[in-house]
């Protein structure tokens, strides 16, 4: 695998690689410490054993001396030096004359300093043998005799060779492998980051349909990709909504604008009297007022859908709104031949008071416009507010024509009016606004048959009942 220097530099700069490097260094320091500790401990152990061994030997020889004098001691040492082994012995008289020994080349004066120490020596039976290190104890015997007993400590160095060196080698190997492995791991991470960056660049270039790839491993990259994808879905949805709104605005504002222009033009061409001028002007003002209302409603829907009114959300007493709006519309309903009744329990929601009131007003307004029974009798509108589990249910039902099941989904779209003759006033935006308000509050809008008539239910997440929650 060829790694270009430029790529290498990029790898080294990544967070993953830096983390890995730091981890490796920390690991190496700990490993060194461990090896050092083991080595030191082993050495202590071996040295302890050697010292004990030598001490036991000295005690044994001293005992022999006490029992049989110098002759017995010489005899015993002589016998011992002939045995193979790593013990060394020197016995000298007060003049330094060696009586029995299996070593040569001891440092001068060594026999004059009693106690324990390390010293170099050569075995006398192997001429040309290399100098070895030994732990020795010098002991003064009565009569000026000096006894040296020692033990070769090459064993100790062997252990070090067996334990420490391979451990050091392994450490170096681990570091090298760790570094190489780090490169590969980092490269993998970098690859995924690069692919994410590339995807987001295409998205930024305008292709909102692009999505980050998800490996399916459930790791942090997947979680990030999933969350970014969800964000992209939302943005795409908002953009689509925005496009739809602007398309609708273009279409549905141009129609009344054209009417407005036509009216003005017709007046210029055909009006002759003051009264005619006046009525033409009044007509244009009426048209422009309708236009403004449509525009306001569209803006309100767009803002409710974009979630912009969330800032003004507060705890709202829906009962107050239901009763207020019913009270506001009751005289109008009465005048139009409908009885409006309200039945409201205490339910609170988190929301925007103005928008909720406007939504209910739109529903009641629709009920007044379309809620008269076909048989020509008095109509009735019922506003009901109740709690259904975690939901606040705000219902408006009438006894009018209702909405055919096939049209129920369509009516909440902007500018959809089932009254094809358009004989009754309205912008076709009322229910679209109600639906947008419902969505803004995390609720739903549903239409049902009231047999006869229409029952519209606005369901919103209710706040917990005070006092009952505890």
């Amino acid at each position: 695998m060829k790694i270009l220097p430029r790529n290498l530099a990029r790898l080294v700069r990544t967070t993953a690689f830096k983390l890995l490097a730091v981890y490796l260094v920390v690991f190496a320091v700990f490993a060194l410490f461990m090896i050092g500790y083991v080595a030191w401990h082993t050495r202590q152990l071996i040295e302890g054993q050697v010292a004990e061994n030598v001490g036991a030997e000295v005690r044994f020889l001293a005992e022999q001396y006490r029992m049989g004098g110098i002759q017995r001691l010489v005899f015993v040492i002589d016998r011992r030096t002939r045995r193979p082994g790593s013990n060394i012995y020197v016995l000298a008289n007060f003049a330094g004359e060696v009586l029995a020994s299996n070593v040569s080349d001891l440092p001068l004066g060594l026999l004059d300093s009693p106690g324990t120490q390390f010293t170099a020596y050569r075995r006398s039976e192997e001429p040309g043998a290399k100098e070895n290190l030994a732990f020795v104890q010098v002991f003064l015997l009565p009569g000026g005799y000096r006894l040296l007993v020692g033990r070769d400590v090459e064993e100790r160095d062997t252990v070090r060779r067996l334990v420490v060196r391979p451990a050091q080698g392994a450490l170096v190997l681990i570091l090298v492998l760790g570094l190489v492995g780090g490169f590969f791991v980092t490269r993998r991470v970098l690859k995924r980051i690069d692919s994410m960056t590339a995807t987001s660049e295409t998205i930024m270039a305008g292709d909102l349909s692009g999505r980050l790839s998800v490996a399916g491993t459930g790791d942090e990259f997947d979680r990030l990709a999933l969350s970014l994808n969800a964000m992209l879905d939302r943005i795409e949805g908002l953009m689509a909504g925005l496009k739809e709104v602007s398309d609708n605005i273009a279409h549905d504002l141009k129609t009344p604008l054209t009417r407005l222009r036509n009216k003005a033009e017709a007046a210029l061409r055909g009006a002759h009297s003051d009264a005619e001028w006046r009525s033409a002007l009044e007509g244009t003002i009426e048209e422009s007022d309708a236009l403004i209302r449509t525009f306001d409603a569209l803006l309100m829907i767009a803002r409710a859908e974009a979630g912009q009114a969330l800032d003004t959300m507060a705890e709202i007493d829906l009962k107050e709104i239901a009763e207020n709006v019913a009270e506001l519309y009751e005289p109008l309903a009465d005048e139009q031949g409908l009885d409006l009744t309200v039945e409201a329990g205490r339910v609170q929601v988190r929301g925007v008071r103005e928008l909720l009131a406007q939504a209910l007003a739109n529903l009641v307004d629709n009920a007044i416009k379309y809620g008269l029974p076909k048989d020509g009798g008095r109509g009735r509108i019922a506003v009901r507010l109740s709690r259904d589990g975690d939901l606040a249910v705000l219902e408006v039902s009438d006894a009018g024509e209702g909405i055919a099941a096939k049209d129920r989904e369509r009516v909440v779209e902007r500018f959809v009016r089932l009254d094809t003759s358009r004989s009754r006033p309205g912008s076709g935006l009322g229910l679209a606004l109600v639906a947008a308000v419902a969505r803004l509050h995390g609720g739903t809008l549903a239409f049902a048959d009231a047999e006869p008539g229409l029952r519209v239910a606005l369901r919103l997440p209710a706040l917990p009942v005070e006092g009952l929650a505890q």
């Binding site: 800032d311 109008l332 103005e354 406007q358």
Partner: protein
Amino acid sequence: MSATRETDQDFAMRLLLIEDDRDAADYLRKAFREAGHVVEHAADGEAGLALALDGRYDVLVVDRMLPRRDGLSVVAELRRRGEATPALILSALGQVDDRVMGLRAGGDDYLPKPYAFTELLARVEALSRRAAPQAADTLYRVGDLELDRLAHRVARGGKDIPLQPREFRLLEYLMRHAGQVVTRTMLLENVWDYHFDPQTNVIDVHVSRLRGKIDKGFEVPLIHTVRGAGYMVREGLR
């Protein structure tokens, strides 16, 4: 200008209009003058603030988006300096939270563009302290109609008229602004505390019910409809 003809000329106000759009400013200046008011004009926020600090005005009409200093900041600065002249903010932004921001900055009323001049005129006149002499009284009186704000009692010609709570508040608002035009949206805002457009003539029906209780059986009607604008309570037309 049907509203203009019926407005009392004794309530001539001094207005300061802070508006950068030349056409809009010219139109408003002319229209306010025709309604009998004195209008001064500033074309940007700083100039407007300097003029308004004099405190010689009855009402300020402030556009929200202005060069050099925006309208909300002009009003906020005036309030900071203790200048309490009522201010109406005009804005192309008409949503709930925009209005809240406007009122929070110290504005007394908020009117989204585009508006009918009759609406603006009615609101400006309602803001003027001189034009609302009854505001602080506990007893409002128009002709032989009396409204006692403390006892919640209404009587005409000495005879008690029972009213529903909402009807009482409606009449109270109309009588506080006796002699002034009160528009439908002003009633919806001040009596019901809603700022949305009710689309149909819901307010008209409430007023006509109230009228049925107040004016029915009396020779002189007190609640008048001002065509193309709204309503006015006053003792007969001059």
